[in-house]
């Protein structure tokens, strides 16, 4: 035990001496959370649209005013003699509302009057959002002016749970928190481990009295602590900038956070032990820590949308389970009953990484 702690102390001293590394674990995660957390969102509002009103009657202007009043779309001016496509080409507008001639006359004659809504489909998700917003606006207009008295026979009462304001910050914040946690501590861990291999200081470890278990545990403990230290400013930011706080019992979140820090630290150590080259080890961690967690863990896009052939991979991505726990702690509040399996998986993955690291260490010891 004393030897483990001595190893941990040595690692922590080494980290404290490296200014670049220190900035990497303490400053960069906060920057990333601020930047990515607030810019990676899909639910966008305040989108520009243009209106071409060929009718120019009081009725058509009334319809345009309803669009103007909406918070999700805003109307920018566009001359009627220019093609709406020109606005899409120069990215001036996301959609165009085209009101035909005689629109006002037809409406007053109680005929159903079509208006065209052209949507720039090059960004498919935003396009379906814009079309949805416009449909809702026109439905509201119709309800006021033409059909409020013919109520729908079936009325859907829609309740939005856990995030009633539909704020995408609350969704992306926890995701980016997990991304930052899965990246920087293992990066440093793999660098420290690969450095021992590169500089051959590992040979000194072999001839010392420390065993492979003690050596690995000491290193992993150090980077687990680094991960937990990194977690503190991130949680403060999540609370004050993203407006998230614990709902329900946070104990499973804390257990999962400790286990996850251990898990990613063990991942970094394993990579560093297997690849005794700092640059290559770093690329490996970037691939595992960033690309896998970014893409295959449901950070921005739902996992259910991943093609089924590669969806199973996401179950092996450790970040996916932790994201679930974090979102549960901050949004759903399910507590232990809904997260115990994820917590177990995170702990198990950490053990697997540890065992793999230990096996490579043993092999190296025989070779040396």
């Amino acid at each position: 035990m004393r030897r483990i702690l001595a190893q941990t102390r040595k690692e922590l001293i080494q980290i404290l001496r490296d200014r670049l590394a220190l900035a990497l674990v303490l400053v960069l995660p906060v920057c990333i959370l601020l930047l990515l957390g607030s810019s990676i969102a899909l639910t966008v509002s305040h989108l520009p649209i243009i209106v071409q009103d060929f009718d120019d009657s009081s009725i058509s202007r009334e319809l345009v005013d309803v669009f103007r009043a909406s918070t999700s779309l805003y109307v920018t001016s566009w001359p009627t003699d220019r093609q709406p496509q020109d606005a899409f080409m120069t990215n001036k507008a996301r959609a165009a509302l085209i009101i035909p001639e005689h629109f006002g006359r037809d409406v007053l004659r109680k005929q159903s009057s079509p208006v065209q809504f052209l949507v720039d489909g090059s960004d498919s998700n935003t396009a379906s959002l814009v079309a949805g917003y416009a449909t809702a606006i026109v439905n509201a207009y119709n309800a006021i002016h033409s059909g409020a008295t013919s109520p729908q026979p079936v009325q859907a009462q829609i309740r939005l749970w856990y995030n009633p304001g539909l704020s995408s910050k609350k969704y992306s914040g926890p995701g980016v928190f997990v991304l930052a946690m899965s990246m920087f501590a293992p990066l440093l861990a793999s660098l420290a481990m690969a450095k021992e291999g590169e500089k051959k200081t590992i040979l000194q470890v072999y001839v010392s009295s420390i065993s492979a278990h003690e050596f690995l545990l000491g290193k992993i403990l150090a980077f687990t602590l680094v991960g937990l230290a990194e977690c503190v400013p991130l949680l403060v930011l999540l609370h004050f900038y993203f407006g998230l706080s614990f709902v329900g019992d946070p104990s499973s979140f804390f257990v999962a956070t400790v286990l996850y820090s251990f898990c990613v630290a063990a991942f970094g150590i394993m990579v560093g032990a297997a690849i005794p080259s700092r640059v290559a080890a770093m690329q490996m961690v970037a691939l595992g820590g960033f690309l896998l967690v970014f893409l295959l863990s449901g950070l921005i896009f739902p996992i259910d949308n991943i093609p089924i052939q590669i969806r199973w991979i996401s179950n092996l991505v450790w970040g996916k389970h932790y994201i679930y726990v974090v979102r549960d702690a901050f949004l759903q509040g399910g507590g232990w009953p809904s997260t115990w399996l994820e917590v177990l998986i995170i702990g198990f993955t950490g053990l697997v990484f540890y065992t793999l690291a230990w096996r490579t260490m043993r092999r190296m010891q025989v070779k040396a």
């Binding site: 026109v138 033409s146 079936v154 990066l187 896009f301």
Partner: protein, 385 residues
């Protein structure tokens, strides 16, 4: 110009090519990232709302209620997973992620419909993912509305329409007809792949460039180069040119993947996209060289690039719409080559715009490229001198 293409310069270029050929890591990083990243991002980044798991409580158990449930589950967006007996069970299922949406049909649903009263159903959505919830809400509303409209016409609801107030003095309905230009099928990968190409050019360009630039210093062969009769700008340019050529091949390869695997249409001119990619690559190389002049080893160069790449890629609008950024951040994107290339790539490939609309973006890219490359050459020369 004539001085540049002399014998010495060509020899230096030949040396660089030989070095790159022998370094398997660089060759790998020219082929692997475009394939891996384009494929992963293209297939995985799909925001389409489909197959949401729907849990149902059907207290009515009548043909009418089953008809409504069938309508919802036969649409592409919802997939019926299981029936629940009590609201508690459904709540638990939504909290534990077994269901993402829930429909509760009350016991008097069919009776109300038959008597011509309005029937209420409750629709629960797990809104943690705001985007999915926004779109799913629209879908659910429109499915239920079209079901209602059919009820009115099917005669079941003859009484209902009689009860409704006659529409004397009312106006006609406005009928919104949305149509999607440029991507009528709303294929999500067309958006993500065209954005990823810019990320690929900048990130990979800077990575490969900083690796090759730093290598000479790490190996300690920089002094030998300086002793040779070549002058410093020749050395730097001889390092940039082969990299640029190879990265251009990578970009061509990536564009090929976009065309063949993802069937991204090519409405505009190919040369326009390629010219944009070339400028993007050059600014990527400029960034990489610039980082390399500040660092002593490949490790440091890579660590430093962690400070540069995430802001560059997240403030680019490459993967998510620009409007998602906070307002004060949006102008920053104008200083980002990835943003301008994304605009060029999407406009040219999907919308078929030409240089007459895209010239501001080209101009911006050109300015960045000139600044970045000359800045890095200047730093490099200063260090060598």
């Amino acid at each position: 110009m004539k001085r540049l293409f002399n014998h010495r310069f060509l020899a230096l270029i030949q040396k660089e090519f030989a070095q790159i050929r022998r370094d398997r890591r660089i060759a790998m990083s020219l082929i692997l990232p475009p394939v891996l990243q384009l494929m992963l991002f293209g297939f995985v980044l799909n925001s389409k709302v489909q197959n949401l798991r729907l849990g149902v409580i059907d207290e009515s158990r009548t043909p009418e209620s089953r008809e409504l449930i069938a309508r919802l589950s036969e649409s592409e967006s919802f997939r019926l997973t299981s029936y629940y007996l009590s609201p508690d069970a459904l709540t638990d299922a939504i909290t534990h992620g077994k269901a993402q949406a829930g429909l509760i049909v009350p016991y008097d649903y069919a009776r109300n419909l038959q008597r011509g009263r309005q029937a209420n159903v409750q629709f629960l959505l797990n809104a943690m993912d705001a985007n999915t919830a926004t779109i799913a809400r629209t879908y659910a509303q429109s499915v239920i509305a079209s079901y209602s409209a059919n009820l009115q016409s099917s005669g079941l609801h003859a009484e209902f329409s009689q009860i409704a107030v006659p529409d004397v003095g009312r106006r006609g309905r406005v009928d919104l007809q949305p149509s999607f230009l440029y991507n009528p099928g709303l294929v999500a990968s067309w958006f993500s792949v065209t954005g990823v190409l810019g990320l690929l050019c900048i990130l990979n360009g800077s990575l490969v460039a900083s690796a090759t630039m730093v290598k000479e210093r790490e190996a300690g062969t920089l002094e030998q180069l300086l002793m040779s009769p070549a002058d410093t700008s020749e050395i730097v340019l001889a390092k940039i040119v082969p990299l640029f050529l190879l990265l251009c091949m990578m970009a061509l390869f990536a564009i090929g993947i976009m065309r063949v695997v993802f069937h991204v249409p090519f409405h505009g001119s190919f040369m326009l996209v390629f010219a944009g990619a070339a400028l993007c690559l050059l600014s990527g190389i400029g960034i990489g060289t610039f980082i390399a002049t500040f660092t002593q080893s490949a490790e440091q160069a890579q660590l430093t690039s962690f400070f540069v790449n995430p802001p560059m890629s997240s403030l680019s609008g490459a993967l998510t719409p620009m409007e998602a950024m906070p307002h004060w951040m949006q102008p920053l994107a104008k200083f980002n080559p990835i943003y301008h290339f994304g605009v060029i790539c999407r406009a040219s490939m999907l919308k078929g715009s030409g240089i007459e609309t895209l010239w501001p973006n080209f101009l911006a890219l050109l300015v960045f490229t000139v600044i970045l490359v000359s800045l890095s050459v200047w730093r490099f020369r200063k260090q060598l001198g």
